[in-house]
């Protein structure tokens, strides 16, 4: 490993900014977050980034390293610097910039609030009896650490800016983890199709490639959700049965108006006060 490397870090805020380069001393096992901390402690204490656990468990230190969404705490420097010892670090592109490597991810928290919680039938036996085989797949989705890297890479959100129409991969697997919960009794498909916009996903699988928890977001989450929605709304035989008043969902209807997304403001909310 090189003894010193160069970190080219985006510095700036909503009004603009530029990349600035810092020399960094390396040590065995160094990750990009260590390099950022070294810059903060020794060269510029104003360099802003988020971090918490430094063990890839909390999902705070998301950034784009050489243009790829990644957790800084899990990215070993020797895997990223080029022949000239250079690494480029920039903030998530999909979310509005606050400062340096920190973006305003509050949109995600608003989406989370629009997903109805686990809803159990009033007469369900308690405590629950659930078999491991029946919860394996939702446990996979519940590994999500909310780093929002999948939201950052999602074309619908990143390139087409459709935050008004699609909740993004993180919340597809959140809905999947509820919909596939053995005790959940809510009919989630209308909400999934309309407010959450599952149809917008074009199954590029970029989201599951960047997931630091290796969750099969598209394969195990979004595709089965799309199939369930298709069954409900696009299957001609089901449609016919419905016209005859048959084949209704046995689950509780969702009070949809309670969870319809309020319109997203054109510009993201500025941090207050």
């Amino acid at each position: 490993m090189l003894e010193t490397i160069r970190l080219r870090v985006f510095r700036g805020d909503a009004s603009g900014g530029e990349e600035r380069e810092y020399p960094v001393r390396t040590f065995p096992g160094m990750v990009v977050l260590d390099a950022i901390h070294q810059i903060q402690g020794e060269q510029d204490g104003t360099l802003a980034c988020r971090w918490n656990c430094k063990a890839a468990k909390c999902g705070s230190c998301s950034a784009e390293i050489n243009g790829h969404p990644a957790l800084m705490c899990k990215s070993r420097v020797e895997q990223f610097y080029d022949a000239a010892g250079l690494i480029r670090v920039s903030p998530l592109k999909t979310f509005p910039l606050i400062k340096d490597l920190v973006t305003d991810v509050s949109w995600n928290y608003r989406k989370a609030q629009q997903i109805p919680p686990l809803t159990v039938a009033a007469d369900a036996p308690r405590p629950f009896r659930m078999m491991q085989g029946d919860v394996d797949r939702i446990q996979e989705f519940r590994k999500c650490i909310e780093c929002f890297l999948c939201q950052d890479i999602c074309h619908v959100l990143r390139d087409h800016g459709r935050k008004d129409a699609y909740f993004g991969p993180r919340f597809m697997i959140k809905i999947a983890s509820l919909d596939m919960h053995p005790m959940d009794d809510l009919e989630r498909r209308p909400h999934l199709m309309r407010a959450a916009g599952v149809g917008y996903c074009n199954v590029n699988k970029c989201c599951q490639e960047v997931c630091p928890e290796h969750i099969h977001i598209t394969d195990n989450g979004i595709i089965p959700l799309k199939e369930r929605v298709a069954d409900e709304f696009y299957d001609p035989i089901r449609g016919l049965l419905r016209m005859l008043g048959l084949g209704r969902s046995r689950r509780q209807p969702m009070p949809e108006e309670a969870f319809t997304a309020p319109p997203e403001p054109a510009a993201e909310r500025k941090p207050s006060p």
């Binding site: 063990a55 920190v102 519940r142």
Partner: protein, 598 residues
């Protein structure tokens, strides 16, 4: 005076880890308005780092477990310094709180019968840790986060609270700054719950994040509350050691619960040495490797291996092995679970597998891990009433790691996740009851103005020291003088350094503006870590015995006199007083539970 915004709610909850979120749920369910403030984004608090499980005597594993055994294990693990009433409430209510979590949506690992699966852990007689692989904390915080959000409290993310505000004796709010903008906010509330977690950042090698600077305990102390047993800082036996970039990261106790063994450089399973099993645990642990191996498959007929002694004992043993020259290449000990097979390890310890693979280039299904004790948890904290979590100040409540009394001199693994559920709820309910019959207090602008001046001083200074450098000096001093092995001389030197740093912190200087400025934030955090460090060291000097996490090599062994006393720290002006208090008495019923073990 600097401008500040005012936010008024019935209850203010400071901290959004497990305890703060559970308190928030209780306040909202009582129908009161609630502001919950957190330093990070929601869901990133330290609870997310908990791995092994939440201890509650559900008795799902075919063993005769119940709250009485859990009570006894916790008292024994805490070396009898625990508050018995707190432990009683804890052991009883932990069961209901875990089951309630499942109703909220948590998805625990299952037994073949479809119940919540429980795993063995250090110091717990039976399999008692309700878990989700080795990411139980994530499951717990996400579940509580979703539940709390569904009750629509007002969440203030990335705000740091720096001072509690009082109306005469009563706590009536707090001053905070918005980390994103740097703006000031005065929260006014009829009751305040402190749920700010612990403090590990004053040590160099720690499993704690930047948030663990002891803000809540320091603010409570400065407002006039009392701190209990502050010398009791837990050194988790197994922290990552190599490479340097990951030093101190936690290696969950579940590795040992799932059969992991500790070996020194000579390949010896040193925990079997009789000197490492203290008197009160004699006869309860396997005495041969064969017996320990038998326990893996037959828990009814074999005793557990001594790797599963409580954390204080295992940490001390590792420290002694390394000091005796039997350490690993980088000065630690080997932890090996590879004999359990790759499939089993990847299923039951997935995040450990990933952590070592990605950060340490180690495949734990084939290779041993190198480990060394790391700062992990603080047993001491704000002194509270067992039933209501109220502090000595009216209107102020505390729960979770920032509160003291449950864990005594050493915490058993798994007890913290249920601690935050049981007492988070109790604190929230009690605060809601108090707030229901109270009026908002008066807001005195004097302390608000003084605190804002204090916060702004490093920004207006034209020269001065770098707060990051001071923090590093403090970490070096605490690591040297107040770690596992403590002596009068080492502690005294450490105290001198801390006091010197407390003078130097008055002259720190930072660049830039108030908007998302880590240097500026660090300057205020440093005041909290210094305040708490002084309390830790003074209490460690005062307790002249070895008990639990407090190992005074100049006073080895329990002292029966000290076994009857807690240490309480409080401020008079700016002078810290450390005094002894008799342990709370134990009810006859609880006494009989303790005697059942003899």
């Amino acid at each position: 005076m600097e401008p500040f915004e005012t936010v008024e709610r019935d209850v203010l909850v400071i901290g959004a880890g497990g305890a703060g979120l559970r308190a928030t749920i209780a306040v909202r369910e009582a129908g009161l308005s609630c502001a919950v403030v957190c330093k990070s984004l929601l869901g990133k608090a330290h609870t997310v780092m908990a791995e092994g499980g939440a201890a509650a005597a559900l008795g799902n594993m075919g063993e005769p477990d119940n709250w009485r055994v859990h009570f006894r294990d916790t008292m024994l693990g805490g070396a009898y310094l625990n508050n018995p009433r707190i432990v009683e409430l804890f052991a009883k209510e932990a069961i209901e709180r875990v089951l309630e979590l499942e109703q909220y949506g948590a998805v625990f690992d299952r037994t073949p019968e479809g119940l919540i699966s429980q795993r063995p852990f250090g110091g717990h007689t039976y399999r008692r840790l309700n878990h989700v692989g080795d990411r139980t904390g994530l499951e717990l915080i996400r579940t509580l986060q979703d539940k709390a959000v569904s009750l629509q409290p007002d969440v203030f993310m990335e705000f740091t609270v720096t001072r509690l505000l009082k109306d005469a004796d009563r706590v009536v709010g707090a001053l905070a700054y918005n980390r994103q903008s740097g703006g000031f906010v005065a929260f006014r509330a009829k009751a305040v719950v402190v749920a700010t977690g612990g403090w590990g950042r004053m040590y160099k090698y720690t499993s704690n994040s930047w948030e663990s600077t002891g803000d809540g305990a320091a603010m409570a102390l400065e407002a006039g509350a009392e701190l209990l047993d502050m010398e009791m800082v837990q050194f988790h036996p197994t922290g990552m050691l190599w490479p340097p970039g990951v030093r101190g990261l936690l290696v969950t106790e579940a590795v040992r619960g799932e059969g992991g063994v500790l070996r020194n450089s000579q390949g010896e399973r040193f925990m079997f040495r009789p000197e490492y099993t203290p008197e009160r645990y004699r006869g309860k642990y396997a005495e041969t490797e064969e017996e320990g191996a038998g326990w893996l498959t037959d828990k009814a007929n074999f005793r557990r291996p001594p790797e599963l002694l409580p954390r204080d004992e295992v940490s001390r043993a590792i420290y002694k092995e390394v000091r005796a020259g039997r350490g690993s290449e980088h000065g630690g000990i080997y932890l090996d679970v590879s004999h359990r097979g790759a499939d089993y390890i990847r299923r039951s310890l997935p995040s450990m597998y990933e952590q070592f693979h990605a950060l340490g280039d180690i495949d734990i299904t084939r290779q041993p891990m190198e480990i060394y004790p790391t700062i992990h948890y603080t047993m001491g904290g704000i002194r509270v009433d067992p039933d209501t979590c109220s502090t000595t100040l009216p209107g102020l409540y505390a729960a979770g790691e920032c509160a003291g009394g449950l864990h005594g001199a050493n915490r058993l693994g798994g007890n913290s996740l249920t601690d935050i559920l049981v007492f988070g709820r109790r604190a929230g309910e009690a605060a809601a009851i108090y707030a229901s019959s109270a009026m908002q207090g008066a807001l005195d602008e004097g302390p608000v103005s003084a605190e804002m001046d204090l916060l702004l001083r490093p920004l207006s200074a034209t020269s001065g020291e770098n707060p990051f450098h001071l923090a590093a000096e403090l970490q070096e001093a605490m690591q040297q003088g107040a770690m596992i092995e403590r002596t009068e001389a080492g502690l005294t030197a450490c105290l001198e350094k801390v006091l010197q740093l407390r003078e130097r912190v008055e002259h720190v200087q930072v660049e830039g503006s108030r908007a998302y400025n880590p240097g500026w934030n660090a300057a205020r955090d440093l005041r909290f870590t210094l305040r708490i460090s002084e309390v830790i060291v003074r209490c460690a000097l005062a307790r002249k015995e070895s008990r639990g996490a407090q190992w005074r090599s100049d006073y080895p062994g329990f002292d029966p006199e000290w076994g009857r006393k807690n240490l309480v720290a409080r401020l008079e002006g700016d002078t810290l007083h450390v005094e002894t208090r008799p342990l709370p008495s134990m009810s006859p019923e609880l006494q009989s539970i303790m005697e059942e073990a003899r």
